[in-house]
Subunit: 108 residues, 3 copies
């Protein structure tokens, strides 16, 4: 069974940012994503002092490496300073790369 | 502290498929799994045109590499064409391999 | 774009253990974490025979490698025998290591 390397990008941020974040991801070329509800505690952006334990979302995108880096770079530049957001990337194997290649997508 | 290598298999699919998917995983030898509710957008199987943003589940199994590949291969063959499903695998380290070896399991 | 290596520690355990687990993680130096609700099936600790399909939580911490190993080791020693708990670690890349270094944290 042949597998292909892709990146899993996981973004955890304030739930209120969902609509804008999804629009941003789609503009960057993401065609699929998965969202789960989350909560937690962590470092906060300057606007988020009231969000100590607020509602978060956990967004996953599986995509080719260059798009993953574009997403990471764009979100860092536009959101890290002002929003509670963390992002991490990891290597994953997939079976059908055409499901992910042209913009990723971590949901069927 | 000694750690052991296992595979984390993450499956994201339509919530309506849960019962059948779990039965399939157990038949393949999986003894444990974790389910979280999710939602998202992505490529769709032919039966799922009505599920553009429908309820999804995110199923995780930690298991030995061969079982991970068996799961991936089986799900690809039986579900990828007709259901909204993506699957990705990644390397993880665990402390107590006996919790996972004979069929994996991503929940206590 | 420069990235930095960190560990993602994922802990899946009984929901009733949440408060104690979070206190333990904070005592070990964790400054941020993400919690999602989960359910599942798996190996059970001796106190959990009634939890065959009970409520679980999935806790994520992103931190430097030594802290990840401290967490894993401590939880194994203190909880594995008596609670339904699994833990796995994986490698992730992050952009702003200062968000995670001194105790990790998988939520903004």
């Amino acid at each position: 069974m042949q597998t292909f390397s892709r990146k899993l990008v996981t973004i955890i941020t304030e739930a209120v940012l969902e609509k804008e974040l999804i629009a941003t991801l789609e503009k960057l070329g993401v065609s699929g994503y998965t969202i789960t509800e989350a909560r937690g505690k962590g470092h906060r952006g300057v606007r988020n002092t009231g969000w100590e334990h607020g509602a978060n979302i956990r967004v996953e995108v599986v995509c080719a490496d260059p798009l993953a880096r574009t997403i990471a770079s764009h979100l860092k530049e536009h959101y890290y300073d002002n929003y509670a957001m963390i992002l991490f990337m990891s290597d994953v194997e997939v079976l059908r790369p055409e499901k992910f290649t042209s913009g990723g997508g971590a949901t069927p």
